[in-house]
């Protein structure tokens, strides 16, 4: 009842000064709309750019590293401190890129609570041959379902489809660059020759386009079995294990743990892609800085309006105080006014921001590198709308606070004496 009274008085003030109130509110509207549009667009773009690499990158990548063994044969010979043993011309033995006991390892890692998905992969080099041309290439044998679900491989296959790969052991998705160089397309056959001389003839069911030319010029995908067949290895032969986690933050500690536990090389995403994080956060800082500046300007609008209001309403304030309203009551009335203007302006701002970003998201945006992207990327994340309205309320609260506390302190006798 009492609160209703303060709202009634505040509302009356807004209604009787509707034009000024709307102008003040429009400042907030403009600030919030810009914030929403900017942040949706910026983060949408960020997501797209990061997705280019990060989506396709495992959170932890397990493989066997090439390099000399830490314990050389000579170290195993019981050392006699007075003797010198010399072995000249140490050479590496044929590279074992296979992960030892991969199926058991995959099972074990799947049970970690942090782990969302584990995908095996067989990577190998191969030659593409068509007619007289031999092209150097990289073949990845993948678990198609996993790859599609966790690494969005399908988004980068166009034309063609990734589904064909899972059922067909004689199918391949070739890099766009490879296809172009060999002048082949969907439906054509392509010959692969493994380093050991095995040869396979596969049918092209799609082309792969990552957007990075150096990748598209060499990379192709087949299913696990096909890759194993190509290099003449059994089902258990796996060269890489790719892990996705529930929480990206866990990548570094878990990678270290896996290295210790399984004696294997484990690279986490942060180490692999350090530069992406910084780019993203700088773009975000710019967005917030611009929006906060706009809101401060809007805040000054509200501050001005309220100051003018209070100047005009000196008599009203004196009457309210003389008839028993306390300073706190009067202050509340003006804060309510400011925040009502802020809330109304902010809500319209959210709506406008949504309309702007929706409009942008309909504008065609075609880039070679991303066949699945046809319009500008917009991130319609609800969080930004909450941040926006919170911004509006906080800004208007502070803008209203100073004038309102002036009204609270105002002495009614001063006004009465002036008559």
């Amino acid at each position: 009842m009492y609160k209703k009274l303060l709202w009634f008085i505040a509302g009356m003030h807004i209604i009787t000064r509707l034009k000024q109130s709307i102008v003040a509110g429009l400042g907030v509207t403009f600030g919030i709309a810009t914030f929403i549009t900017l942040i949706s667009f910026m983060t949408g773009l960020n997501g797209l750019l990061d997705g280019l690499t990060l989506d396709r990158t495992p959170h932890i990548h397990l493989y066997n590293e090439t390099g000399p063994t830490k314990v050389q044969p000579l170290d195993l010979v019981a050392g006699t401190p007075t003797d010198w043993h010399l072995i000249r011309s140490v050479k590496p033995k044929p590279q074992q890129s296979r992960i030892h006991a991969a199926p058991t390892l995959i099972k074990a890692i799947s049970t970690f609570p942090e782990v969302a998905a584990v995908a095996p992969q067989v990577s190998t080099q191969a030659f593409y041959t068509a007619g007289a041309i031999d092209l150097n290439g990289l073949i990845a044998g993948i678990d198609v379902e996993q790859e599609e679900r966790w690494y969005k491989l399908g988004d980068y296959v166009s034309p063609g489809s990734i589904v064909a790969l899972s059922q067909n052991d004689n199918a391949i998705i070739v890099g766009a660059g490879v296809a172009k160089k060999l002048s082949v397309g969907i439906g054509n056959k392509i010959q692969l020759v493994s380093p050991r001389g095995n040869s396979l003839s596969l049918k092209i069911v799609g082309t792969y386009q990552s957007g990075l030319a150096e990748v598209d010029d060499v990379q192709s995908y087949v299913n696990l079995k096909t890759a194993q067949r190509l290099i003449g290895e059994p089902d258990s032969y796996i060269t890489d294990i790719n892990i996705k986690l529930h929480d990206l933050e866990q990548a570094f500690p878990l990678a270290q743990r896996l290295e210790r536990l399984y004696d294997i090389k484990a690279v986490d995403i942060g180490t692999a892609n350090a530069q992406f994080d910084t780019g993203t956060s700088i773009r975000n800082i710019i967005t917030y800085a611009v929006s906060i500046t706009l809101l401060i300007v809007a805040g000054f609008g509200i501050y001005n309006i309220l100051n003018m209001f209070i100047q005009e309403k000196m008599n009203d304030i004196a009457i309210l105080k003389a008839t028993g309203f306390s300073g706190a009551d009067v202050m509340k009335i003006f804060i309510i006014q400011a925040m009502t203007i802020g809330l109304a302006g902010g809500t319209v701002g959210l709506l406008l921001g949504w309309i702007f970003s929706y409009t942008i998201s309909r504008i065609p945006f075609e880039i070679e590198a991303l066949p699945t992207v046809t319009t500008y990327p917009i991130n319609f994340n609800l969080t930004y709308y909450f941040i926006g309205i919170a911004f509006a309320l906080i800004a208007t609260f502070f803008a209203g606070y100073l004038p309102a506390s002036r009204a609270r302190k105002m002495d009614p006798v001063d006004v009465l004496r002036r008559q």
Binding site: M1, Y2, L5, I9, M12, H13, T16, N315, D316, A318, I319, L320, K321, A322, T323, G324, F325, S326, G327, A328, D329, P412, V413, L416, R417, Q419
Partner: protein, 226 residues
């Protein structure tokens, strides 16, 4: 008289520092009893308004003691004083001091809504009854800036009555009205005093007005003449 004291002042002193240090009220003591109709007269500038602002608790910058219904109210917090004004003191100013954009009914009802003792239906009925008693029931829904000076003054009186205060103070409430309207306001006060037993303390320059009150306090240069 043996009647209960409504407002009592003991040795009130008031100084202004600007433009030069200057004592406006000098050791003022007075006592208004329940049901009394008291007028205050004196030359312009003798300190009547200043005294009334202190008695009405709006001005707290003074020395001395002030009692309302025999309770000391000097030194209370601003919030407490606001609550006291709301409940116990009705004020009628020289210039009809209304909230111009609010309706007559709202102007009268606001102090009662602030007090919060009654629900809005009852407050509305009470306000309408007072307005009718003052012969302005027909303008209840009009905005306060659309009514005449005499009507405004009666609305201000209605507002001062709404919470059935212990005392009504007026600072030249008829000073701005023509003789017909001021006679009207005077008779309203006179009526309220006799029929409702209301306590009134009214500053006036009008000798005829003062003559019709129960008692007249005369001031001169910050003191009360005996």
């Amino acid at each position: 008289m043996g009647r209960k004291s409504v407002i009592r002042a003991e040795s009130i002193n008031k100084f202004f520092q600007q433009p030069v240090p200057f004592q406006v009220l000098k050791n003022i003591s007075l006592d208004v009893a329940s049901g009394e109709f008291v007028s205050v007269m004196g030359k312009s500038g003798c300190g009547k308004s200043t005294l009334l602002y202190i008695l009405s608790t709006m001005d707290t910058d003074y020395t001395g003691k002030l009692y309302l219904n025999d309770q000391l109210i000097t030194g209370l917090q601003a919030e407490q004083l606001a609550a006291i004004r709301n409940e116990h003191i009705g004020f009628v100013f020289q210039f009809h001091f209304l909230l111009p954009e609010f309706s007559v009914l709202d102007n009268v009802s606001l102090p009662a809504k602030k007090l919060g003792r009654k629900n809005s239906e009852v407050i509305r009925e009470d306000a309408l009854e007072i307005l009718r008693m003052l012969d302005i029931g027909h303008i209840a829904e009009k905005k306060a800036y659309r009514i005449s000076g005499g009507e405004k003054q009666r609305v201000a009186i209605a507002r001062s009555l709404i919470n059935s205060p212990s005392i009504i103070m007026g600072d030249e409430p008829t000073g701005n009205l023509d003789s017909k309207n001021s006679a009207n306001v005077l008779s309203i006060f006179r009526n309220l005093a006799t029929t409702e037993g209301l306590t009134l303390l009214i500053v006036t320059h009008d000798k005829d007005f003062a003559r019709q009150t129960d008692r007249t306090i005369t001031m001169e240069d910050g003191i009360i003449l005996p």
